[in-house]
């Protein structure tokens, strides 16, 4: 009989990376459903396209790196990257934007840094930022209108495919419109808040369906928290920081976007629960997570309010990705039996 000698522990809990990633994917389903419900099939097609691209480019790079392809594809991280990008991109974005963003995310932002676990930046957001900067027109105008806004029927699946793959101009113009955040930001200097909120964009309960999309992502996020896959620190601190900034600077609704829109429009909840919480590029210590989340909230508010872009999840997250290692170094917990926690590097330390 052969005996195995391995280091303890000899037993293992039921957590598995691949399963965690699947759960994350599962938790986005309410949001995906809400997006499709209000804005048509665009997001769904984007998601499928992005996932396919992500898996394909991941497989290609793994092959090139002479890594076992199936083993690493099974960890489902490429799937989640593609999924999140698909959810974040404008529903009627041309196909090549999705493909470009996703392949860049997987190849450059993830694999070139060493693959899973080694990327300093959130790959999905790197891909998003790339296309946002490179193709601002497509990225700001191709937001599908919610059926509540257009007041007509939802864009059909054939039209959606046409828009995405052929870029049919008339169709695109017919079905797209500015996002609520964009509209509020640009028109508040001309109109009062009350006037603005009478516009079609803000029809429905709050802003033409975006509130439901955000609530759906919130629900998915809470599910992840219950499943103990994410901790409360980052979403809570991020949303609190955003709300606080909004209350302090933007209390005047005739000048700045109100709190309700900040929280329930754009990609706020998707960002708070699914993007900012990406463990690889986020801060890892409990207090560090609070700082990290708060930083994202603050940057989000600053860029949304005074920056050039109506939404800013990608930039806020990437900016805090830069700071994460530094935050970690200064927020280490106090180890059992020590009087004080360690802070950063000491003078004698080798860097």
């Amino acid at each position: 009989m052969a005996l195995l000698t391995l280091s303890s522990p000899h037993t293992h809990g039921s957590n598995r990376t691949s399963r965690i990633m699947l759960t994350v994917a599962l938790a986005t389903l309410p949001g995906l459903f809400a997006l499709s419900w209000f804005f048509g099939y665009g997001t769904l097609i984007n998601v499928i396209l992005a996932i396919a691209t992500a898996l394909a480019s991941e497989a290609l790079v793994l092959k090139a790196r002479k890594y076992p392809v199936s083993f690493f594809l099974k960890d489902n991280t490429a799937l989640v990257t593609g999924l999140l990008l698909g959810l974040a991109l404008p529903p009627l974005a041309p196909w090549w934007i999705t493909v470009l963003a996703t392949s860049f995310a997987v190849v450059f932002a993830k694999q070139l840094y060493g693959g899973m676990g080694n990327n300093p930046f959130n790959p999905a957001m790197v891909g998003y930022a790339l296309v946002l900067i490179s193709f601002p027109v497509q990225m700001t105008t191709n937001w599908a209108m919610s059926f509540q806004v257009s007041g007509t029927e939802l864009i059909s699946i054939t039209d959606t495919l046409k828009v995405i793959f052929t870029g049919a101009k008339e169709l695109t113009d017919a079905y797209t419109g500015a996002t609520p955040l964009d509209e509020y930001k640009h028109l508040i200097s001309k109109e009062t808040s009350d006037q603005l909120l009478q516009r079609d964009t803000f029809s429905g309960w709050l802003n033409g369906g975006w509130e439901w999309v955000n609530l759906a992502f919130l629900a998915g996020g809470l599910f992840l928290m219950i499943k103990r896959i994410i901790t409360w620190h980052i979403p809570v601190s991020m949303l609190l920081a955003l709300a606080l900034c909004s209350l302090v600077f933007g209390w005047d609704e005739d000048l700045y976007t109100p709190l309700s829109l900040h929280l329930l429009s754009g990609a706020t909840m998707l960002g708070a629960f699914f993007i900012a919480t990406d463990p690889v590029s986020a801060s890892t210590t409990p207090r560090g997570k609070l700082i990290y989340g708060a930083g994202i909230g603050i940057f989000l508010y600053i860029i949304r309010t005074w920056g050039a872009y109506p939404d800013a999840i990608a930039f806020a997250v990437l900016l805090m990705n830069f700071a994460a290692p530094f935050i970690d170094a200064y927020t280490q917990p106090r180890t059992y039996g020590h009087d004080k926690p360690r802070r950063g590097l000491k003078p004698g330390d080798k860097s």
Binding site: L3, L6, S8, P9, H12, I20, T284, T335, H338
Partner: protein
């Protein structure tokens, strides 16, 4: 429970499936006596014990078979009576699978005890509460008790708390590891003994209270302990505290935190916060040692896992082979039951699934720390899958009971950045395995930490050794320098002494060495005397000059210092006197020099016709030497050509050498006097030359010795017909050449 204990919580921790019920179904049983007992001499933390029995000895049950080596060590006792059949290296139950010296006993199945009695009886005390703590600790040490919870630290050492006052004794009955029920069953069946052990420990430590921490998944054990408390009327001093079940609450540090809220300082011991923590099994062993005189020769071990039919606890003699225990428990190797399952090797784990180690073989003995033998099937405890990359999910940090950042430690360990790992408190890791348990990527984190810890320890040891080597090297260099300095000083002293002796000889040689100063001026006095006197004068001159300088200094000081103004005149007087003296000496010297010159010229003149004049002698020596050279040259030629004149020539050479010696001796005798006269001419300078000459002469003598030796060897070689003749001849020639060179040097030196 009579006191209300405020419980605290430790951070992190996990709740793995307990799997304890399987092995609590039946009471503790004794396995049959095995055919041999293997007792490694190193079953505890500290130095291995020294065997005190020999192969072939018969031993009685409880007899000491190995004595502790040093303070942190523990003795070993025979678990049964029998014969020592071997003292040899055997594989020990350790993760390394290495061998260590073990005493092997073949039981005689009589199981006859050595004489033993309670400590109370041994000391002849009426009241057993009067036993001094020292005697109790000594008894615990003699009985070889070492921590039975798993670490195996010698209990007696732990109880010597030294300067720390202990207020709380904690008995650890938490037993948080899955599967293990040894302490549980012990508490159920032998609660009175445990409480008795607690009493003894309280007596030793003079602690105010004792807390027995038991996880709430052991209600029977808690009830048994409560009953025992009432029975021994200890309900006021000892509390059984029920703590929530969470792994690793049975870790010493964690249990202390739960029960008292105190943290043991990093790198410190619980005594620093006034606490001593002992396992319940250890407490029982202490009670048996003190009350019955029973050394630690057996322990309770759980044998469990799905491959075991009779899962349960055994009262096992130390040294019982694991295979024997497995057989007694009805172990069924998984391969025998299913056709395909023997492809994958299984594990047999000593200890629990979280912190135990997988055994390399089952031919290993049960030791003092063996609380469990776990033989699971692969389905029950599958081995970890291939590790995936860390995704920094932070679950490990949430599970860590020491509040470390396991993933950071993992990154550092993986990259071998050991200093950073150390800075992130790697050594506060208790290797509980909670991080590995929760890791979704199934990374063997604990193995990384163990590796890093080992590497750091090795690095430290290497550094320390290097440091030590450097110190020793530097000490050696310093010593060599000191020795060299001493040697130099000695040589100098010897040289000086020799020079002095020579001078003394020289000055003593002339009959009228006592010639007074007046006679110096007379030209007829011998040169030797002259030179000696001259030297004396020179010395006087130097002394006087030194005095002059000193006086001048003093004078200056006096002039500058108003306090010494009255002394100025005095110093001036002294100065004048010294100056006078110097003048006088100078005059004397001049006279002496003149005299010396005349005497030298006279000597030079009188040299003619004198056969013993240095020049002649020198010439003679030179000639002799030249002959020697020719002789040796011829010898060489003869040797080279293999002529039979070699012997003759060698003899001639010897003769020549003797002549050279003679000539040289004669020359030296004369030249010394010559030199002295030359000394008179230029005073001190020449002393050096003389020294040089002496040196040369010495060298020459040494060289001549060498030549002689070379010759001797040469002859011997020739006599024996060795083929080294050529080489020796060459060496001989070389030596001769050297001699000639030296002599050539001497000539100019001697003439100068």
């Amino acid at each position: 429970m009579t006191h209300l204990i405020q419980l605290h919580e430790f951070d992190g921790g996990i709740h793995p499936p307990e799997n304890k019920l399987q092995s609590t179904g039946r009471g503790i049983k004794k396995p049959p006596m095995p055919n041999e007992l293997v007792l490694p001499i190193h079953q505890h933390i500290g130095a291995p014990a020294d065997p005190v029995v020999a192969v072939g000895d018969t031993v009685l049950k409880g007899q000491t078979i190995a004595q502790p080596h040093g303070y942190v060590s523990a003795p070993l006792h025979a678990p049964t009576s029998g014969t020592v059949i071997a003292i040899e290296d055997r594989v020990v139950p350790h993760a390394s699978g290495l061998t260590e010296l073990s005493i092997v006993i073949k039981p005689d199945r009589q199981d006859s005890w050595i004489e033993h009695q309670s400590l109370c009886a041994e000391l002849g005390l009426d009241d057993c509460d009067d036993i001094p703590a020292d005697a109790l600790i000594a008894r615990i040490r003699d009985c070889g008790i070492a921590g039975m919870g798993g670490a195996g630290f010698p209990t007696a050492v732990k109880l010597n708390t030294g300067k720390y006052t202990i207020d709380t004794l904690i008995l650890n009955g938490a037993e948080c590891e899955p599967y293990i029920t040894a302490d549980d069953m012990l508490m159920r069946e032998r609660a009175v003994g445990i409480i008795r052990g607690a009493q003894i420990l309280l007596q030793i430590l003079k602690a105010e209270r004792c807390l027995i921490g038991v996880e709430d998944n052991k209600p029977e054990a808690i009830a048994a302990l409560e009953a025992a408390l009432l029975e021994l009327h200890e309900e006021h001093h000892i509390d059984v505290v029920t703590i929530p079940t969470k792994y690793p609450s049975g870790g010493e540090k964690q249990l202390i935190q739960i029960l008292t809220g105190k943290e043991v300082p990093s790198g410190g011991i619980p005594a620093q916060v006034g606490i001593v923590c002992q396992n319940v099994g250890t407490a029982l062993a202490i009670a048996e040692a003190v009350d019955e005189g029973k050394p630690l020769i057996s322990r309770i071990t759980t044998v469990t896992g799905d491959t075991i039919v009779d899962k349960g606890n055994w009262d096992v003699l130390l040294g019982t082979p694991v295979s024997h225990l497995l057989k007694a428990s009805g172990y069924q190797a998984p391969g025998k039951r299913k056709i395909f399952s023997n492809k994958k090797p299984t594990r047999i784990i000593m200890g629990g699934p979280m912190m135990g180690f997988a055994l390399p073989t089952t031919e290993l003995p049960v030791v003092k720390t063996t609380n469990c033998i776990l033989a699971p099937t692969n389905k029950e405890l599958p081995a970890n899958d291939i590790a995936m990359a860390c995704i920094r999910c932070g679950m490990c940090a949430d599970a860590c009971p020491a509040d470390l950042l396991p993933q950071q430690l993992y990154w550092f360990s993986k990259a071998e950045e050991l200093d950073k790992a150390e800075q992130h408190n790697l050594f506060d890791c208790i290797e509980c395995g909670a991080c590995s348990y929760v890791c979704p990527s199934e990374i063997p984190l604990v193995q990384y930490y163990r590796h890093s810890k080992g590497a750091i320890r090795e690095e430290r040891a290497t550094y320390q050794k290097a440091e030590q080597a450097r110190e020793r090297f530097e000490a050696r260099i310093a010593r060599q320098e000191r020795e060299q300095a001493e040697k130099d000083a000695k040589r100098k002293a010897r040289a000086e002494a020799a020079a002095k002796a020579q001078e003394a000889k020289k000055s003593a040689a002339p009959t009228n060495s006592a010639a007074d100063k007046a006679s110096i001026s007379t030209s007829t006095v011998q040169a030797a005397t002259n030179s000696a006197d001259l030297e004396k004068l020179q010395k006087q001159l130097t002394g006087a000059q030194a005095a002059l300088v000193k006086t001048k200094e003093k004078l200056e000081a006096a002039q500058n210092d108003p306090d010494q103004a009255d002394k100025v005149a005095l110093f001036e007087g002294a100065l004048a006197k010294t100056q006078d003296k110097i003048k006088k000496i100078a005059i004397d010297m001049a006279a002496a020099k003149k005299a010396a010159k005349t005497s030298t010229t006279e000597a030079g003149v009188s040299d003619k016709g004198d056969p013993n004049s240095p020049e002649r002698l020198k010439k003679k020596w030179d000639t002799a030497h030249a002959r020697l050279e020719t002789a040796s040259k011829r010898l060489t030629e003869a040797q080279e050509q293999g002529l039979d004149t070699v012997e003759l020539l060698t003899q001639g050479l010897e003769k020549q050498k003797a002549r050279v010696e003679e000539a040289k001796a004669a020359y030296e005798a004369v030249s010394s006097s010559t030199k002295n006269s030359s000394v008179a001419e230029v005073s001190t300078d020449d002393l050096n030359k003389e020294n040089a000459n002496d040196e040369l002469n010495r060298k020459i003598r040494a060289q001549q010795d060498r030549v002689a030796k070379a010759n001797e060897r040469l002859e011997m070689a020739k006599a024996e017909g060795l083929d080294t003749v050529d080489a020796l001849t060459k060496a001989h020639t070389k030596q001769l050449e050297k001699l000639a060179g030296l002599e050539a040097q001497l000539t100019p030196a001697g003439e100068a």
